[in-house]
Amino acid sequence: MTLWRYCLALVAALALALPQATEAAERYITVASTTSTEASGLFEHLLPGFTEQTGIEVRVVAVGTGQALKLARSCDADVLFVHHKPSEEIFVAEAFGVARHDVMYNDFVVVGPEADPAGLRGKGDVAEALAAIAAAEAPFASRGDDSGTHKKERALWAAAGIDVGAASGTWYRETGSGMGATLNTAAAMGAYALTDRGTWLAFRNKAGMAVLSEGDPRLFNQYGVILVSEAKCPYTKSESGQAFVDWLIAPAGQQAIAAFELGGQQLFFPNAAGGGS
């Protein structure tokens, strides 16, 4: 009797744990994207419009670009929406992705304490700005997580001719976490950091930090979208995924991206080929 009751309870609890039928019946796609698009609030602004038009729910998993690419390689996402063109092109070349499309851009900025101990202000050349940080051995908070921003940052250090690996743990500090967490760390340490402008504008804990170097063409930040290939990943929801890609690069999606503003400032600029403004 006791055992029978025990089994009954086990079955009941298992039934609760399993996904409800309604959950599975809905049309949805999984998009692996970057922390910048989520933390800035872009998706909360974009997705309701798309879902209303198409009836397709978009589930965004926001991780660093490096991790997003890995998720897609394990076939755990239908669409990739990230910002590191070289890695994206490799992804498509390896036949994991169907095709890569430009969607939008913004730029990276170097932020740091308003007191600016390394004297970055007015240095439009980002390599010079980074060299000034290294020369002053002023603390710099790096993502250190193989994200798109981290890859960009390492490329910029290389362009400045500075080996940050040797300085790791001294003035060069790798947080190994997302953009927001790294900015929180930088704010608390009075450190410099490289961030995309979208995350920066949406970031609420600026605590005495300011944008100190911006405008270098090398700070350009291109976002791309890729449908995961059904040939490599049989579970890919190609039809719904393609609908999302098409919508993003069509005038409807491009205008929705352009309309996203925070405090009167536009965060992302649509630049899909042949679409938008």
């Binding site: 006791t2 055992l3 025990y6 309870a9 086990l10 609890a13 298992l14 609760l16 744990a17 399993l18 996904p19 959950e23 999984t30 922390t35 989520e38 933390a39 998706f43 909360e44 589930r59 965004v60 998993v61 926001a62 390689r73 394990s74 076939c75 755990d76 997302g178 953009m179 927001g180 967490a181 900015l183 929180n184 704010a187 949406a202 970031f203 609420r204 804990n205 600026k206 990943c233 579970y235």
Partner: protein
Amino acid sequence: MDDFAGAFSAAFRLIATLDPGLAEIVGLSLRVSLVAVGLAALVGLPLGAALALLRFPGRRALTVAMNALMGMPPVVVGLIVYLLLSRAGPLGVLGLLFTPTAMIAAQFLLVVPIIAALARQVAEDLWAEYEEQLRSLGCAPGRAIPTLLWDGRFSLITAVLAGFGRASAEVGAVMIVGGNIDHVTRVMTTAIALETARGDLALALGLGVILMVLSLVINGAAFMLGETARAGAR
């Protein structure tokens, strides 16, 4: 200090306005953690009692392993469940990654060792007390398990609550296997992590305050229930 004041006003505002977004997140948090702990109790309590009562080879090793697993980092459990449920993994065909079910599975694995290890201790103490009596009644150790669990039910509530505390407070595992997807797998702890990443520390802490209040309510309810039942049992 502004953040502390802001946190309480944010928490109060969210509760007072019955924020629908918050209700959804709290609801999912409770559903995931309660189901995970319920399942873990159904497995962990008998398992712990069996470890205390039955004599079989490898019992000591299993006991030590169970105790050690109590300290398993949630992020490691999350990683294991992720690798199992990933489309590239052995259970990929189920398509359970990034669903509440995956989160329940991860929390279940985290909580079973805690409940089993604590239940083992309770059962062992009771067995030391009642062994002779139960044996004289012709009750074998295996048959004594339900009796001892029932007898120790008030102490075992604490074991289950410890498991619930672990499940509802962890962020590492549910972040990896759930993905913190808005309206789908976003729970209290992952929402706190997101608001921290957005630099909205007051709102993040406000959510933390609400999580602690919830935990207080659940623990309070369990305590009252235990007290009432104990009074009734006398």
